[in-house]
Amino acid sequence: MVPFLIVVGVLVMLVLMIVGMYNALIQMRVAFQNAWSQIDVQLKRRHDLIPNLVETAKGYMTHERGTLEGVTKARQMAVDASTISDKLAAENMLTSSLRSLMAVAENYPNLKADQTMLRLQEELTTTENKIGFARQYYNDEAGRYNTAIQTFPNSIIASQFAFKPAEFFQLDDVAERNAPQVKF
């Protein structure tokens, strides 16, 4: 009788432990998926900004058809992308095409002084920053989740219940944010 009770007790303990670990993993998975949706919100904001930006720039940049079309095309691809890896590629392309647009815009003093353009530029800056911060937060959460499913004993549960590792949101060119020019 006593050995039987001990075995039952151990089994119950084991089941409770597994349930606890499983729930913890689910919580982490929800957390990083939620963090991903935060990035999505910001990316969508960027997509909404771009038509206005292109429209404003068109009035001044008569000789830069190619650059402007490149931005529009990259935006369309980013909007259409559905899987995470597609999205990453498209967003990276959009980022670089926007960067070249901004570089070209430097040559148009009238455009740079345009009030609408200045506002759009500020909006774009803040959106880019938000994307960066949301990405950082997502990567933090994804990293925590990945660590959890790969360490023992969670790894047993993860493999049994098919917890797949999270994909990090990485940028192709890790263009460090330029140190600011000090102006006084």
Partner: protein
């Protein structure tokens, strides 16, 4: 040291319980002391027993007395706690005349955007509200309450003088405080212990005013009537105020200096830009940090302490206990190390600003504008009812009615100046302006100033070094004028500088916060502010 926001949020520290316990202990100890003193000295409870033996003095606190004293103290401290922490953000922000940053103005929208970015950086867990404090001082703070509402506030001076990267770094620092939870404990502790400081301030002001009127020749007769007992009472009040002040300082026992290093590290983690934060701290440190403005008593919530204290620059046990901020040099050193820069680099970058300061320090003429030939302000002359009045600058005039020029006793004419309503004296061209309106006038891009104003501004600027040695000394003038709006002869306007950066001497009413500018002084102030800000922004 946690490395991500996820980890930061998991390792929140909580020392609020300790400050609550301390508050209760303080009240209980205070109440017991008062009860004992009252019983022993005032009620004359005897210690002699019928048997001829003497009881120990502590026997006066029998269990029943102990119980009701402790109970009362407990109720009082609970009341204090509840009153202090109720709607604490609204109250604190209102206390500092803060307002939500407007969406309509370009520069304020940048600040709103930056705060929204910080919100995103914390995983959207905190909806941080952006607030602005209307003062030319430079500082930033974060507040949080038990309901999870959080606020990041900066002064308008900071908004105008920092570039976007520097602002991002400052806001990220404050967001670091909020995410790690030390903001909540700092806010609560500051608010709870601020009460003692405020009581002390009020008492000191009372004492001060009675002194002022006591030494002034107008009320010397009144002073004699009141006699010495009043003075003794004031002394007792002053001593109590000192004790309260000390208790207010004790609040900082619960605030660790380390949290500033931690918030700096988080700001760098977020923005990946240690240099911008170093620059921002350097700029703030070299300017007026807001000593003297409301909210100064809550120095722990700010990025750099607005109070000038020698302890802030030291590292020993006493400083660790009583200072809320670590030495600025050390903070800068850590940040510069991260950026692989040296302090000389920072200094070089700030060279222009620095050389401006040094230039002015050559030979500061300790003169007032009135002493300088050629730019002397003419004595006001006015014709009132056919009689010519020459009051002579600065002579105290006994006011007869409201809204008369304090110098010439001519009715002040309402005038719209830079979009703000002011009262102008048509005789001496002085102006009466509300305190908040001064900021508005100064902040508005204004017209060109003619050569005379420029010259006056240059001379005024040269005095800055003199002021720097003792910047917060208010200058109390025997010949101070009476506020035309309040007409309170007991509380005359005080002669002081608009602020140490802009050493224009004005008269300010402590009751209604209106400022009296003599002829040209308002224009000089505008000119100074404009010159300086143009130089900073370009």
């Amino acid at each position: 040291m946690p490395y991500s926001f996820v980890e930061i949020q998991q390792s929140k520290s909580r020392s609020i319980q300790w400050s609550l316990a301390f508050l209760i202990a303080l009240y209980v100890a205070g109440a017991l002391l008062i009860v004992w003193v009252v019983k022993y000295y005032f009620l004359g409870t005897t210690l002699d027993l019928p048997s001829g033996l003497r009881r120990s003095p502590f026997d006066l606190l029998d269990p029943a007395t102990l119980l009701w004293t402790a109970g009362g103290a407990l109720a009082l401290s609970a009341g204090h706690w509840l009153v202090a922490t109720h709607a604490l953000i609204d109250k604190t922000v209102q206390y500092m005349s803060g307002r939500v940053a407007a969406d309509g103005k370009d520069d304020e929208r940048v600040f709103r955007n930056i705060v929204a970015e910080a919100s995103v950086a914390t995983g959207g867990k905190y909806l941080i509200e952006p607030y602005l404090i209307p003062t030319t001082a430079m500082n930033a703070f974060a507040l949080q309450d038990f309901q999870g509402r959080s606020v990041i506030g900066i002064t308008e001076g900071l908004l105008k003088r920092l570039n976007r990267e520097q602002l991002e770094a400052v806001v990220a620092h404050e967001a670091g405080h909020i995410a790690s939870g030390d903001c909540l404990e700092t806010t609560v502790t500051s608010v709870v212990f601020k009460a003692f400081d405020t009581i002390c301030d009020v008492t000191r002001r009372m004492l001060f005013y009675s002194n002022i009127s006591g030494s002034s020749r107008y009320s010397s007769s009144r002073r004699e009537e009141k006699g010495g007992s009043f003075g003794a009472l004031l002394l007792v009040i002053f001593l109590i105020a000192l004790v309260l002040k000390f208790i207010g300082y004790l609040g900082s026992l619960f605030i660790s200096r380390q949290r500033e290093y931690r918030a700096d590290a988080m700001a760098v983690r977020l923005t990946r830009n240690p240099l911008a934060l170093a620059e921002a701290l350097h700029i703030i440190d070299r300017r007026w940090k807001g000593g003297g403005i409301p909210g100064e008593a809550m120095d722990a919530i700010f990025i750099l302490s607005p109070r000038q204290s020698a302890y802030d620059d030291q590292e020993n046990l006493f400083s660790d206990l009583f200072s809320t901020h670590p030495p600025i040099k050390k903070r800068l050193g850590i940040l510069l190390d991260m950026a692989h820069a040296r302090e000389s680099d920072l200094d070089k970058a700030m060279n222009k600003a620095k050389s401006r300061d040094e230039m002015l320090g050559n030979d500061p003429p300790a003169k007032t504008l009135k002493d300088i030939p050629g730019v002397a302000i003419p004595a006001p002359l006015a014709t009132v009812g056919g009689a010519v009045i020459a009051s002579g600058l600065g002579l105290p005039v006994v006011p007869v009615a409201k809204n008369l020029c304090p110098r010439c006793q001519v009715p002040l004419v309402p005038e719209v100046y830079e979009g703000v309503q002011i009262g102008r004296c048509t005789a001496c061209l002085g102006a009466l302006v509300g305190e908040m309106d001064v900021l508005h006038i100064v902040g508005t891009k204004s017209m060109q100033f003619d050569g005379r104003i420029q010259e006056l501004a240059r001379i005024t600027r040269e005095q800055v070094k003199v002021l720097k040695s003792n910047p917060f000394d208010h200058i109390y003038d025997q010949k101070s004028i009476v506020c035309p709006s309040c007409l309170d002869t007991n509380r005359r306007m005080t002669r002081r500088f608009v602020n140490p950066r802009y050493p224009v001497e004005v008269d300010k009413c402590k009751l209604c916060a209106r400022v009296w500018f003599d002829r040209d002084e308002l224009e000089i102030l505008q000119c100074l502010y404009e010159n300086e800000n143009m130089a900073v922004n370009k």
